[in-house]
């Protein structure tokens, strides 16, 4: 089963939600931001990649999504199982981004989902082809947005694109929202159930440490909210 996490606007917390949903749903988190990748584990990758660069030798890291989309690696080869959540990381270099064939994303994600049982595709911001390809591969999507006019406007557009590409809306994550957030309005405009994920230092710290918040602060409000969100997704589709 394949879940796309989209939002339209950047910086609303798509990667954080995608990573934690992958953890809850026991799925592979796919970093599909082909030109700039930001799931946890990136920092580590960057270091090893940087040292490989500076020595001018081939990087000592494993293959990544760029390699998969360039036909240099099989999708399952690129899944990293060493962290708390299985990740299919994206490459970091612009040259790698330039070399890949983005249309291969659909097949790659489907292959990983078949092998691992599920994928959570962290789609990039905007509404370019890479978002569309993530949605095309997906069975359902989760919209991540914030209670701000700019974010909600972009979420409406992302919702329309998801509908166009037959990725049903499983849930809406209203991120960094307080108790007075207009959840009813958001649910009405976007046409789906809203789960509020409150602003929380625990979540930010967990993400920075490259761990799901359920592992670092299982009783925090944000961990509970993400678990509820995952439950909604699981009921919407057999994950």
């Amino acid at each position: 089963m394949i879940l796309a996490v989209v939002g339209g606007k950047g910086g609303v917390g798509k990667s954080t939600v995608a990573y934690n949903l992958a953890s809850e749903l026991d799925a592979v988190a796919v970093d599909a931001d082909l030109a700039m990748a930001d799931l946890p584990g990136r920092a580590l990758d960057d270091r090893s990649e940087g040292s490989a660069r500076s020595t001018g030798r081939p990087a000592s890291r494993g293959p990544d999504l760029h390699d998969v989309l360039a036909g240099r690696a099989a999708p399952v080869e690129a899944v990293r199982e060493s962290g708390p959540v299985d990740i299919l990381p994206c490459g970091r270099s612009l040259a790698g981004a330039r070399a890949c064939d983005p249309t291969a994303l659909v097949d790659a994600v489907e292959t990983v989902a078949r092998e691992y049982g599920g994928c959570v595709v962290d789609c990039p911001a905007g509404l370019c082809g890479d978002v569309g390809l993530g949605l095309l591969a997906a069975d359902v999507c989760v919209l991540v947005t914030e209670p701000t006019p700019a974010a909600l406007g972009d979420a409406v557009r992302a919702r329309a694109l998801a509908r166009e590409l037959d990725a049903g809306l499983a849930a809406i994550a209203l991120n960094r929202a307080g108790p007075e957030a207009p959840t009813d309005l958001v649910a009405e405009r976007l046409g789906g159930p809203v789960t509020v994920v409150p602003e929380s230092p625990e979540l930010a710290e967990a993400q920075a440490a490259g761990r799901p918040v359920a592992a670092t602060a299982p009783d925090s409000e944000s961990a509970r909210a993400l678990r509820r969100l995952a439950d909604r997704v699981a009921t919407a589709v057999a994950f």
Binding site: A35, G50, A104, G129, L136
Partner: protein, 259 residues
């Protein structure tokens, strides 16, 4: 009754085929290329325009007009260049899109509400190719290989490349050891224009990719390998032309000083 008219024009080694299909009533047609060569369909954002599948095009002939289709090929002109291989009732719904899209692909009539075709190529056609533009990829400096000072990435795949003080270092006196620039340290890369290095880098990548092209388990990869092989062949021709020019230029009287 469906009628097919054509116009075939050959220029600079490329045959351009224009087809016009008319019908008494609205219908859906499939047209196949009959020329002996690869079909180069019109592309939208890098993907074949909607309706194209290999060397066949499927589209809808409107009741009050004609369906026009164009493509290019390296094949020699012949008559007929293409044939209508199937006709059927017009599709409503999904299939209708490919009937309209050829006109979209030509850049006109894009006023329809944006619809995204549910295929990877269709998504890229409608939403754009997310691949980073070629110009934003920094040119790696392969000559620094193994000669790093350990202060950080130097091959240009990171942002540091653009921050390097090119101008200041170009003013430094070059090592007068008489060796060709290719053997010197990274500073001398500045003597070679970035465009040349970028081109060489791309050529090397294509040759590598062509050499390592997978045999292909589905339709697309093998087509990709064929494209890569064509590109690599063209690259080799360009390389030998450049090599000859370089020989000529370096043999000029002052060339010895450059060397």
């Amino acid at each position: 009754m469906v009628s097919l008219e054509w116009d075939v024009e050959r220029t600079d080694g490329v045959t351009l085929v224009t087809l016009s299909v008319a019908s008494e009533r609205e219908c859906r047609v499939r047209i196949a290329n009959r020329l002996d060569g690869p079909v180069w369909p019109p592309r939208r954002r890098g993907q074949p325009a909607a309706g194209w599948d290999g060397d066949e095009f499927t589209g809808t002939v409107p009741a009050d007009g004609r369906l026009t289709v164009g493509y290019a090929t390296s094949a020699q002109p012949a008559e007929p260049p293409a044939e209508v291989v199937a006709t059927g009732p017009p599709d409503t719904g999904d299939g209708d899109r490919s009937g309209r899209s050829p006109r979209l692909a030509d850049g006109g009539e894009a006023a329809d509400a944006p619809t995204v075709e549910g295929t990877p190529a269709g998504v890229v056609r409608s939403l754009g190719d997310p691949v980073v533009p070629r110009d934003c990829v920094p040119v790696p400096d392969e000559r620094t290989e193994g000669e790093t000072d350990g202060t950080g990435p130097t091959d240009g795949t990171g942002p540091l490349e653009s921050d390097r003080p090119h101008g200041t270092r170009a003013d430094e006196p070059g090592p007068g050891d008489g060796r060709p620039p290719v053997d010197r340290r990274g500073d001398d890369a500045l003597l070679v224009p970035g465009a040349v290095r970028a081109w060489l880098r791309d050529v090397e990548r294509r040759l590598d990719a062509a050499a390592a092209a997978p045999e292909g388990n589905a339709g697309e990869p093998s087509e990709r390998s064929a494209d890569l092989a064509d590109a690599a062949a063209a690259d080799r021709r360009a390389l030998s032309w450049v090599a000859r020019r370089l020989d000529d230029v370096t043999r000029r009287p002052n060339g010895d000083e450059i060397r």
